[in-house]
């Protein structure tokens, strides 16, 4: 009996010892791992796991995720009925509804066996904006493969590879009941028209019902002839606008909101941010400057994180950069991965969700190099983040060379509680009130003609409370000029 008790005690001790050792192996000895080492990652990368993954492929490695799709949506959808006009921005219910209409037509266009097509001039393209039309303005150009990924449709079957789509107009023919899709390549000054066998009368009805009760309080620059030089050479022309710049002639009210910098008071997350970029902090040379900016250096790359909220990565050589997944070179894959890195950095900084980003640089097929630029958006409007002291021009900047991210700069910002509404004055006025365009001319004070490529409503994030302003993209100027009206 006594012997049995000893046996039981030994058995209990052995079981406890076994559990303790297992715990030690699984959890406690992580103190001996380099910081940043992830036990589960090491399991994920074992030969066995890789073999299992190849047997049961859960993803083809090209999967494009939601953050990418939201970054490449049209920056605005303009509905025109001929005598009324309405503008929708991402995030608005009406935007989603218009997007759905467009999506159905694109489905029909890309799935049709044969589509009638013809070329058209840019002026004919613009003329369509004066009639019943749905106008999709991206604010950047997309090559056919990127456009296909953005809408999850195969546009490569209807568009030549060299055609970079910057603007799309959809209209309908009530007689033939065809939908007409016109796509513009603004850099090549060429446009193409597709006749789609899909409910043309329905799209006209949709436009009429959506613009019912609206007024024509927004005009395109070409409608005011502000897109062409004056015939009278004696008058000094101060501005020249791009044809499809949309100008507002009425006051509009917008929400204001707080702009927050998560890194301002929390420098403890810097190491986590380095990990999010795929580096192990303990193997980099870290130094902290007087202003709190931390630099992590190795011979092939540098990471700089400042309390101003700027995360900057630069690789010394192309091949030493962050490799794109599966070595894919397509621009949309680069945008997808860059967005994913931004999401990981936000998470490392203790922010649950990535602030909405929108692409502002072109997505064109190129063999060697892409520059990716994105701005934050709030309520569908761009938030302009220009910090000259930190060399920040956009919320996100990335350079991708031959399948490697060689430069990356992210300004971390989150948007807090909405404040009081603020009124944004018109861009142009017919009366005595000064419009934003006049204020721009006064501010710049140049004698020669200002060539304005884009005019848009946006927010200025340089202040703690962001308020609506007019943004002007002027030829020859790197910064967006912001005018508060």
């Amino acid at each position: 009996m006594y012997k049995e008790r000893i046996k039981s005690a030994i058995l209990v001790l052995l079981v406890l010892n076994c559990l303790q050792l297992m715990g030690q192996i699984w959890f406690n000895n992580k103190k001996l791992w380099p910081s940043g080492y992830n036990f589960f990652n090491s399991i994920q990368n074992t030969k066995l796991t890789n073999a299992l993954k190849s047997l049961f492929p859960l993803s083809d490695g090209k999967q494009i995720d939601k953050p990418y799709l939201s970054t490449v949506r049209p920056s605005k959808i303009v509905l025109s009925s001929g005598n009324a006009r309405d503008v929708y921005h991402p995030g608005e219910e009406k935007y989603d509804s218009a997007y759905l209409q467009v999506d159905r037509i694109f489905e029909s266009l890309t799935s049709s066996q044969s589509v009638r097509t013809s070329t058209m001039s840019v002026s004919d393209f613009n003329t369509l904006l004066q009639g019943k039309s749905v106008y999709l303005s991206f604010g950047f150009s997309l090559d056919p493969s990127s456009l296909s990924e953005a809408f999850k449709k195969n546009f490569t079957s209807v568009l030549p590879g060299s055609f970079n789509v910057s603007d799309i107009i959809i209209t309908g023919d009530t007689l033939t009941k065809e939908s007409i899709v016109c796509m513009l390549d603004s850099s090549a000054n060429s446009a193409v028209k597709f006749f789609v066998d899909y409910r043309g009368d329905e799209i006209i009805k949709y436009i009429d019902s959506s613009t019912f009760g609206k007024s024509q309080d927004k005009v395109f620059a070409f409608e005011l002839k502000l897109d062409r030089p004056l015939k009278d050479a004696k008058i000094v022309q101060r501005i020249l606008l791009d044809s499809r710049v949309l100008l507002s002639i009425e006051d509009e009210e917008f929400e204001t909101f707080e702009v927050l910098n998560p890194l301002e008071s929390d420098t403890s997350s810097f190491d986590n941010i380095v990990s999010a970029l795929g580096y192990t902090p303990s193997v980099l040379r870290k130094s902290v400057a007087q202003d709190g900016t931390a630099s992590y250096v190795e011979n092939s790359a540098t990471i700089r994180i400042s309390p101003a909220g700027v995360v900057e990565y630069s690789a010394v050589e192309t091949e030493k950069g962050i490799p794109l997944q599966n070595g894919m070179y397509a621009p949309y894959l680069a945008v997808s991965q860059v967005t994913k890195i931004a999401e990981q950095i936000f998470s490392a900084a203790g922010v649950e969700h990535l602030t909405d980003l929108h692409l502002v640089s072109d997505l064109k097929a190129s063999e060697d190099e892409y520059i990716i630029k994105m701005n934050y958006t709030y309520g569908g409007l761009p938030v302009i983040s220009q910090l000259n002291a930190e060399g920040v021009k956009n919320a996100l900047y990335a350079k991708v060379e031959r399948g490697y991210i060689t430069a990356f700069k992210l300004l971390i910002r989150t948007f807090g509680k909405p404040g009081e509404n603020a009124v944004l004055g018109p861009c142009i006025t017919g009366g005595t009130k000064i419009g934003a365009l006049d204020m721009l001319v006064q501010q710049i004070g140049r004698e020669e003609t200002l060539e304005i490529q884009e005019v848009f409503k946006c927010y200025n994030s340089q202040t703690d409370i962001s308020s609506p302003v007019w943004g002007f993209k002027i030829k020859g100027m790197e910064d967006i000029v912001l005018i508060k009206n």
Binding site: C18, G36, K286, E298
Partner: protein
């Protein structure tokens, strides 16, 4: 009776499981590694082909995972350090670090004493006096240091180095020099007194791998003779920096040059 047998079997099974877990645990926590002689000889041969001559015996045979530290300097510049030491010296009625006799550069401070040649000093007391000065002026503030005494003819040199977990910092030093008349020089190189914060353990690369990479990338035209290889910590330039990581390095000395390699990734610093 049956239950007793089951217990015996289970004791046997758990004993075996525990032995396996023990082995697994200790192999996982292994942080020290050794390089076999054949690898050392092969490394020397490869280096020779690239104009680097090295005696295989001076290549360290072992290497280990090392803790990294973060250093926060107490004094912003050598000038500020020397001024602070001078303030303390005045309270002791000493002349050490008096502004007239102290020179500073971006990286160093140097005090040259006005030695009274009529007096004699017993060099056996050099270590004791240096220790007293270090302690009274706070030259070792917040740091863990060790000293090394070198005896020369009519001259003693005492070098203090920072040391953490048994590993020396290779590019900071505080030097006291004595002759038969007394202390004549205090020299500090990158010596700003530091708070030390502990970081994580970092794996290191074997020196053989670093040497081969160095030889292949350097492409020396003339013969380079490696005289010593030492493992230690490296601080580097810390101008305009509040804190900096103390990184494990391999220091390679040739007849003409010193090279520091980051032991974690092989980067030439």
């Amino acid at each position: 009776m049956e239950w007793s047998r089951v217990k015996s079997i289970m004791i046997g099974i758990f004993f075996v499981v525990n032995v396996v877990l023990f082995i697994s645990y200790f192999s996982n926590t292994k942080t020290s590694f050794s390089i076999d002689d054949k690898t050392l000889e092969s490394t020397a041969i490869i280096l020779k082909k690239h104009n680097i001559v090295i005696d295989a015996h001076i290549i360290p045979k072992t290497y280990q995972d090392t803790r990294t530290f973060e250093l926060k300097k107490i004094y912003e510049t050598p000038k500020k350090a020397a001024d602070a030491f001078w303030e303390k010296a005045k309270t002791q009625d000493w002349d050490y670090f008096s502004p007239q006799r102290t020179r500073v550069t971006e990286r160093t401070f140097e005090y040259i004493a006005d030695v009274d040649t009529s007096k004699t000093f017993d060099l056996k007391n050099a270590s004791k006096l240096a220790g007293k000065i270090v302690s009274a002026l706070g030259l070792d503030d917040k740091m863990n240091i060790e000293s090394k005494i070198e005896h020369f003819e009519n001259h003693v040199k005492i070098t203090y180095n920072q040391i953490y977990e048994g590993t020396k910092v290779l590019d900071t030093a505080l030097i006291f020099e004595f002759n038969q008349h007394g202390l004549y020089r205090i020299f500090g190189d990158n010596w700003l007194c530091d708070y030390v914060l502990s970081g994580g353990i970092s794996p290191t690369k074997p020196i053989t791998e670093i040497l081969v990479d160095f030889a292949v990338n350097s492409q020396f035209q003339s013969i380079q003779q490696v005289t010593s290889i030492e493992f230690g910590y490296f601080v580097g330039d810390r101008q305009n920096k509040v804190s900096i990581s103390l990184i494990p390095v391999w220091k390679l000395c040739t007849q003409n040059e010193e090279y520091f390699f980051d032991a974690r990734n092989g980067d030439l610093l």
